[in-house]
Symmetry: C2
Subunit: 196 residues, 2 copies
């Protein structure tokens, strides 16, 4: 259900074709709410049927057209209502922590690999989030650039600050995951020393 | 798919009826891999069909019987294989961070509420994880108590340490979420001061 609010969030910046929405999604709201293209297209069609967005045919190449979606007043209202409603929290489903809890069943070298991959995974994620955050802060990110054009200059700092704040949270969480995995490697060295 | 490994993990401690497995799940592996009872019962039946666990009829009250499931050699093998295989990471789907990124669309008081609920949510979770962690460390937790009986005393410290380590990770993550939400409240005070 959150996918539609992610798409509404994206469309508050500017009208987009399904193709552009899917492309923008990955470099923007998709960092906090991942969705594959195969979910994005049908969700846009459902949202159009429900009147949250409306499509118009636009030129696409010399002989073809595409549907470009704009958020409607009813879409803006739905997005604001969602923004002002309490959030549900999904219960924890965390395979890495689950596995760590049963490391006595793993080969110690596999357990080490698992934690090293955990570190690599979050290091990659942090690198990516850091790049996106920087492009938001200097407004070179495509979505933030068009978004800011709709607001008076005195609002820009605030809008950018909220987005940077969201990425700060992801980065801080990634750092905690890396720190946790490093402690796990130390624990394994203590209780299951590597054999040479 | 991870649900079956969570159930296998639980059944490595002792044989359980479906009812007891569902009950134990919530106080044990369910903290890292949540599943509702409605998923646990059918998964146990599928696992029995696939030979990962086997059921035997046991007395239940004066006139009735119930199926009690034990892990089979093939179940132990499947669990070990999972333990030694690389993990897939689910992409981020985080409604709280998504919402924070668009706080310019929220009423500032709703944004504050959202962050305060975030703090309360993780404070509750941390309190719960801390209690479970303590019961694991002093072996008063029902699942760890029976699990340890199967191992020589010199293995106990290691087994307990892995489980405590998993909870340490959850707790550290919860603390980072609280810290993040507190920074968000400071940010809101700066960019959207409360009106008196």
């Amino acid at each position: 259900m959150s996918l539609r609010y992610a798409l509404l969030a994206l469309l508050t910046a500017e009208p987009l074709t399904g193709y552009d929405a899917a492309k923008r999604f990955g470099g923007s709201v998709g960092h906090v709410w991942h969705a594959p293209d195969s979910q994005i297209y049908p969700e846009l069609r459902r949202m159009e049927k429900e009147g949250l967005i409306e499509g118009e045919q636009v030129r696409w190449g010399p002989k073809s057209t595409k549907t470009r979606y704009s958020i409607t007043d009813s879409g803006v209202l739905a997005f604001r209502e969602w923004m002002d409603s309490p959030l549900d929290y999904a219960p924890v489903r965390d395979a890495a922590h689950m596995r760590a809890a049963y490391f006595e069943w793993a080969d110690p070298d596999s357990a080490r690999d698992c934690l090293r991959r955990h570190i690599d995974h979050y290091a990659d994620q942090i690198a990516c989030w850091t790049v996106v955050r920087a492009a938001i802060v200097d407004a070179t990110n495509a979505t933030i650039a068009v978004r800011l054009r709709k607001y008076p200059a005195e609002e820009h700092e605030r809008i950018v600050a909220f987005k940077a704040f969201a990425y700060d949270g992801l980065i801080a969480r990634g750092e905690v995951e890396i720190e946790w995995a490093r402690k796990g490697l130390e624990l394994l060295d203590k209780v299951s020393p590597e054999k040479y």
